[in-house]
C-alpha cells in the first residue's frame, strides 16, 4: 500500500473556491497527490470533494490558489487540451447515449486526431481490458447493465492513456455486489497501469478498500486529514474523522491486511479424508483436533487435500466413511485473504479455528482463534504506533492544520485495541 514513486503529480497550493452566492466549496486547500497513487477524497455531500476533483481538469476554476498537474499550473494550459490528457469517469457513467460503446470509448483518441481506424482498434483493446465482450462494442449504452456501463466509462477515460484519472463517485449508482466487482477491477487495473488516480466517494468503506491515501473533507470545504488508510484508522486527526470512519475502525483496519502480511502462523494439522472409513478416525489424534464448541473438531479434506468442512470426531456415525458424517461448513482462507475475513471465519467456525490453504486450494494448516487474535492485535498496535515514514510526508502540512496527528487519542486507541 505504498504510494508510488512519491513524485507530486497533482498539487493544490492554498486553493479556495468561493461562489458568488457566498458559499465556500473549498477552503484553503493544500494537498499533494503522488504520482501513481490512488487518492480517495471522502466526505459527506457538500464538503467540496467533487469541486476539488473538478479543479484538476478545470471543470471548475479556483477563486484563489494554484492547482498544478505535473508541475504545471493548470491555468497555463488550454482547458480543452488539458482535459484530453486527464481521464474522467462520472457517476452513472455519463456515456453518450447516441454513440455505440466503441465510439464512446474512442471519444478522446478521435479528439486527439488519431484517425478513426486507430481509435477504434484502441477502443476494442480497452473493451477487453475492462472485462467486456467484443460484441458489446456495437451496442448502445442503454443496452448494457449499470455495471457494464461503468466499465465502459472507465475504458473511455483510459482510451488515450492519460497519466491522471479522475473518478467522481463512479460506482455510486450500482448495486453492492457489482460495486465490489468494479472495485476489484479498478484495483487490478491500477496494479498494471499505475495511474495517478483521484477518486471521490462518500462511502468510507470504498475509500478504505481502494485508497493508497484517503483525504477526509468536512462541510465548508476543509480538508481535515489526508493519510494512508491504516494511519487514518488508527490515528484519526479529530472526532470528526473518527466519527466519519465509524465505530468499527479496528475491524476496517484488519480488512487492510492479509494473513500473509500479518505473518499469521499455519499450525500443522492432520486432516481427515472424506473417503476414510469412520472406524479409522481416532478422537483427538495427532494434535489435529480442536476442542471447539461442544465437540472434537477435525478438518475434513477431499482426496485432493482441499478442505470441505469441519468434522466432529466425537459424534461419528456407526459406519461408512468420513464423508457420510455431517460436516459443518468451512471457508478455506488463502494468504491473500484479509485478517478481517479470517476473524469472521473464526467466529463462525465450530472449531474456533480457520483452515488455511495454499495457492492450489490444498490444506496447508489451521490457525486457532487465539493465535489469530494475537496477530491481529500485534498488527493493530504496529499500525497505530508506526511513524509517518512515507516519502511524501504527511500532506497538507502547509496549511498547518490538515494531517496533524493527535497523539493523545492515538495512544488511547492503541491501548484499547491491545487490551
Amino acid at each position: 500500500m505504498q504510494s508510488g514513486k512519491g513524485l507530486r503529480m497533482i498539487s493544490f497550493e492554498a486553493v479556495s473556491k468561493h461562489y458568488p452566492n457566498g458559499t465556500t466549496a473549498v477552503d484553503d486547500l493544500t494537498l499533494e497527490l503522488p504520482e501513481g497513487g490512488l487518492t480517495v477524497l471522502v466526505g459527506s455531500s457538500g464538503c467540496g470533494k467533487t469541486t476539488t476533483l473538478r479543479m484538476i481538469n478545470r471543470m471548475v476554476d479556483p477563486s484563489a490558489g494554484t492547482v498544478r498537474v505535473a508541475g504545471r499550473d493548470v491555468r497555463d494550459s488550454d482547458a480543452a487540451e488539458l482535459r484530453r490528457s486527464i481521464g474522467y469517469v462520472i457517476q452513472q457513467s455519463g456515456l453518450f447515449p447516441h454513440r455505440t460503446v466503441l465510439d464512446n470509448i474512442a471519444t478522446v483518441p478521435l479528439l486527439l486526431g488519431w484517425g478513426r481506424r486507430k481509435a477504434r482498434s484502441r477502443a476494442a483493446e480497452l473493451l477487453e481490458r475492462v472485462g467486456l465482450e467484443a460484441e458489446s462494442g456495437d451496442r448502445y449504452p442503454h443496452q448494457l447493465s449499470g455495471g457494464q456501463q461503468q466499465r465502459v466509462g472507465v475504458a473511455r477515460a483510459l482510451a488515450a492513456d492519460p497519466p491522471v484519472l479522475l473518478m467522481d463517485e463512479p460506482f455510486g449508482a450500482v448495486d453492492p455486489v457489482v460495486r465490489t466487482q468494479l472495485q476489484d477491477e479498478l484495483l487490478r487495473l491500477q496494479r498494471d497501469l499505475r495511474k495517478t488516480v483521484v477518486f471521490v466517494t462518500h462511502d468510507i468503506d470504498e475509500a478504505v478498500r481502494l485508497g493508497d491515501r484517503i483525504a477526509v473533507f468536512r462541510t465548508g470545504g476543509r480538508l481535515v486529514q489526508c493519510a494512508p488508510p491504516a494511519r487514518l484508522l488508527t490515528r484519526p486527526a479529530d472526532d470528526f474523522v473518527a466519527g466519519f470512519l465509524g465505530a468499527e475502525r479496528g475491524l476496517k483496519l484488519l480488512s487492510l491486511t492479509t494473513l500473509g502480511e500479518a505473518e499469521v502462523p499455519h499450525e500443522p494439522v492432520t486432516p481427515v479424508r472424506t473417503d476414510e472409513p469412520v472406524a479409522e478416525i481416532r478422537v483427538g489424534g495427532n494434535g489435529g483436533s480442536y476442542e471447539g464448541t461442544q465437540g472434537n473438531w477435525r478438518v475434513a479434506v477431499t482426496p485432493d487435500g482441499a478442505p470441505v468442512g469441519w468434522l466432529d470426531a466425537g459424534a461419528l456415525p456407526a459406519g461408512g466413511t468420513a464423508g457420510d458424517a455431517g460436516l459443518l461448513p468451512l471457508r478455506p482462507l488463502r494468504d491473500e485473504d484479509s485478517l478481517l475475513a479470517a476473524l469472521d471465519e473464526s467466529v463462525s467456525s465450530p472449531a474456533r479455528a480457520v483452515a488455511r490453504v495454499d495457492g492450489d486450494g490444498v490444506l496447508s494448516g489451521v490457525t486457532g482463534q487465539a493465535a489469530l487474535h494475537e496477530r491481529a492485535a500485534v498488527h493493530h498496535t504496529a499500525a497505530a504506533t508506526a511513524e509517518p515514514a512515507e516519502p511524501g510526508g504527511e500532506p497538507g502540512a502547509g496549511g498547518g492544520r490538515s494531517g496533524q496527528e493527535v497523539t493523545g487519542t492515538g495512544a488511547v486507541r492503541t491501548a484499547e485495541a491491545t487490551s
Binding site: M59, A80, R83, P97, Q143, S145, G146
Partner: protein, 249 residues
C-alpha cells in the same frame, strides 16, 4: 354549390401537379429557413438564460399576428413575389421550431453534455456532436408540426397570388364551383401526410440509437420514459397553437 364533379379531376392532372409543386416550393423553403433561423436562436436561448424569455416571447408575438395581415405588411418590403409568401410562412414556423429546439436542447442529459466537455471537446463540437444529435427527436417533432402547418398555411398566400394549391380554393370560390376546392383540400391533406411520413422516416434513419429502445428497455426504462414524455409534450403543445392559428386565417 353542387356535388363533386369527378370528371374535373382527370382533365386537370397537369394543373394539380403544377400547383402541388408550387405549393411545395413555398412550404419547404419556409421550414428550411425557419430551421436555419430557429436553431441558432434556440442555442442562444438555451445557453443564455436571460435571453431565453425574450426570444421565446418575441416568437410568440410574431405568431399572434394574423397571417393575412402579415402578408399585407410584408408587401411594401418584398412586393408581390414568392419571397413574400415564403417570408410570412418562415416567421410562422419560428414559434414552433424555436420552442421545440430549446426544449430539445433542454432534454439533453446533463451528464452527456458534461462528459463531452470533460473529455476535452470545445463548445461547438459538444453542440454539434452531442447536444444536437440528442436533441434531434424533440427538434424533429417541431419540424413535423412546422411542416404540416406550413403546408396548410400556404393557401393563405393565394391572396397575393402565391398560394399553391390554395389557388384552387380561390378559383372554386370565384366560380361557385366546389370541385376544385375539394381537390385542393384533398391534395393539401395528402401532401401534409406524405411530408410528415417522410420526416418520420428521416428521423428514424438519423437516430439509430433510439431504435433498439423497445428491445432492451430493461435497465433504463425510467430515463427512456422521461425523454418520451418530453417529446410527446413538445409535439402536442405547439400543434394546439397551430390549430388555433387556423381561426386567424
Amino acid at each position: 354549390m353542387t356535388a363533386v364533379d369527378w370528371g374535373w379531376f382527370p382533365e386537370h392532372i397537369g394543373d394539380m401537379t403544377a400547383l402541388t409543386l408550387d405549393h411545395l416550393s413555398i412550404a419547404v423553403p419556409a421550414v428550411f429557413f425557419g430551421l436555419v433561423i430557429a436553431l441558432p436562436l434556440a442555442v442562444v436561448a438555451h445557453r443564455v438564460r436571460r435571453l431565453r424569455g425574450l426570444i421565446l416571447g418575441a416568437s410568440n408575438v410574431l405568431f399572434t399576428i394574423p397571417s393575412l395581415a402579415f402578408f399585407i405588411l410584408l408587401l411594401p418590403v418584398t412586393g408581390l413575389t414568392r419571397s413574400t409568401a415564403v417570408t410570412g410562412l418562415t416567421i410562422y414556423t419560428l414559434v414552433v421550431l424555436i420552442r421545440n429546439s430549446v426544449e430539445g436542447l433542454d432534454s439533453v442529459p446533463a451528464h452527456a453534455r458534461e462528459a463531452s466537455v470533460a473529455m476535452g471537446s470545445r463548445p461547438l463540437r459538444t453542440l454539434l456532436t452531442v447536444e444536437l444529435p440528442l436533441a434531434l427527436p424533440v427538434i424533429m417533432a417541431g419540424v413535423r408540426v412546422a411542416t404540416v402547418m406550413s403546408i396548410s398555411l400556404v393557401s393563405v398566400a393565394s391572396y397575393i397570388g402565391y398560394g399553391g394549391l390554395g389557388q384552387l380554393f380561390t378559383d372554386g370560390f370565384q366560380r361557385s364551383y366546389t370541385t376544385p376546392v375539394i381537390a385542393g383540400v384533398l391534395l393539401t391533406l395528402l401532401l401534409a401526410l406524405l411530408a410528415d411520413g417522410l420526416l418520420v422516416g428521416v428521423q428514424y434513419l438519423c437516430t439509430p440509437w433510439a431504435r433498439s429502445r423497445t428491445r432492451t428497455a430493461r435497465t433504463k426504462t425510467s430515463r427512456t420514459r422521461r425523454t418520451r414524455t418530453s417529446t410527446a409534450g413538445a409535439t402536442t403543445a405547439p400543434s394546439t397553437t397551430a390549430t388555433t392559428q387556423g381561426k386567424g386565417v
